[in-house]
């Protein structure tokens, strides 16, 4: 039995992907926080028994909320053969934060670039080949809601598990790397991946610390405290801040041209002009700005040519005034 947990930020479509792959019927919703416990969907694929493990969404492996703890605990137990990291492609930077943490686990892993249709619809492009090259693992565009890309995802997940393809380490700053290696050498064998263990010890993660305590690794804790002291003396910034920074910016989304800015004109139009209120005030303007021909004819008949010209000249100003009024008054309420 191959266990594959689905890890990712909240509301990225982990459960929807599982349902699409395993034809299961787990509860999904289009808001975050639907999955609040570990669930499994089992199926047989190409003669292989597979259990897809659905986990609550997490922003990080140093948990803040209860659901994140469930996810972290499952990963810390180490009872899986490979990970599928589900990314909301429309929000790459925040999602890559967790991906970088998962990479530190050095386990076989595949990235699912979910909501890819939404991403392209917004005018972005993604160089998936380049991303795969950087990460050293496959990154597969998927659209969970329509079940696209799922076949490719599960195929490459199984291949990755069989070949044990682990992602490339995305190195931290040189001094931090030195301390990580130093701690990894002093480490006993645990279910927790050694690199992640070392980084979490450095960052003073309470769970890892208590784990080290139960393993009676007081030596190791002492070493971590010393290493943290050395780094903070050297850099003058809390180590947790540095690591958060590197998780956020280690992959240069812009400079590696992974994402391109959307069409600026289109964006401007959307931002400033085509709002329901603007459209409505434009409608008011169009309705008023020049009287219709039959009205003009009627005015000419009844009052004469001069009145008609006066009316025609006046109305655009009235129309403009009214639409300004509608827009300004409306924007107080909407």
């Amino acid at each position: 039995m191959i266990h594959i947990p689905f890890v990712g930020n909240p509301n990225t479509g982990k459960t929807a992907l599982i349902n699409a792959i395993a034809k299961s019927d787990l509860e999904v919703g289009n808001w975050p926080g639907v999955t609040i416990e570990k669930k499994e969907a089992r199926f047989t694929y190409a003669g292989e028994k597979i259990a897809l493990v659905d986990l609550p969404g997490a922003y990080t492996l140093s948990p803040y909320s209860l659901e994140e703890k469930i996810t972290r605990n499952m990963l810390a137990e180490g009872k899986f053969e490979g990970i599928i990291d589900v990314i909301d492609t429309t929000n790459l930077r925040r999602n890559l934060y967790l991906t970088l943490e998962l990479i530190d686990m050095q386990e076989p892993m595949v990235v699912a670039l979910n909501m890819f249709d939404d991403f392209t619809k917004r005018g972005y492009e993604l160089d998936t080949d380049k991303l795969q090259e950087i990460l050293g693992i496959s990154a597969i565009p998927t659209i969970a809601s329509r079940g696209l890309g799922t076949q490719k995802l599960i195929d490459s997940a199984i291949a990755t598990v069989k070949e044990r393809t682990v992602p490339h380490i995305q190195p931290y700053q040189e001094h931090i790397e030195k301390e990580i290696t130093f701690l990894m050498h002093a480490m006993p064998k645990t279910t927790l991946p050694p690199r992640l263990f070392a980084i979490h010890l450095l960052a003073d993660d309470p769970y890892t610390l208590s784990l080290a305590k139960t393993l009676k690794q007081h030596d190791l804790i002492e070493k971590a405290v010393q290493a943290r002291g050395r780094l903070e003396a050297h850099m003058q910034i809390p180590i947790k801040t540095i690591i958060a920074f590197l998780h956020m910016f280690n992959i240069h989304i812009e400079s590696l041209s992974i994402a391109q800015k959307p069409n600026i004109l289109q964006q401007k139009l959307k931002d400033q002009f085509i709002l329901p209120l603007a459209a409505f005030s434009y409608l008011v303007f169009i309705l008023l700005y020049i009287p219709c021909v039959s009205t003009m004819a009627a005015i000419k008949e009844e009052l004469g040519m001069r009145w008609m010209l006066f009316e025609t000249a006046l109305l655009p100003f009235v129309a403009y005034g009214m639409s300004v009024l509608v827009y300004q008054l409306g924007s107080r309420f909407f």
Partner: protein, 86 residues
């Protein structure tokens, strides 16, 4: 200047995050980092909570917590540059 003192649509750079306990780590995980540009999107009718934008990310913060985040408004920065103090 505190984050809670900005008015809607004003942009600022984060200077430091003060003592807000565990929330500090959480905010850092969500991208609220020193030196990052931040914008107040809107403020709820009674002044709490406030919605901020950081990158493409929208977050809602209690104004108590926003008080502990030190920022520098972009207009302030420009003024200082003009005076040559920056």
């Amino acid at each position: 200047m505190k984050l809670s003192e900005l008015h809607p649509k004003q942009k600022a750079i984060i200077k430091s995050i003060g003592d807000i306990g565990e929330l500090r780590d959480r905010l850092m995980d969500l991208g609220v980092l020193c030196g990052e540009p931040i914008q107040v999107v809107r403020i709820a009718p009674l002044g709490d909570p406030i919605e901020i934008r950081i990158g493409d990310e929208h977050l809602a913060l209690r104004s108590d917590d926003a008080q502990n985040i030190e920022v520098e408004a972009i207009s302030q920065l420009r003024q200082r540059e003009r005076k040559g103090l920056s």
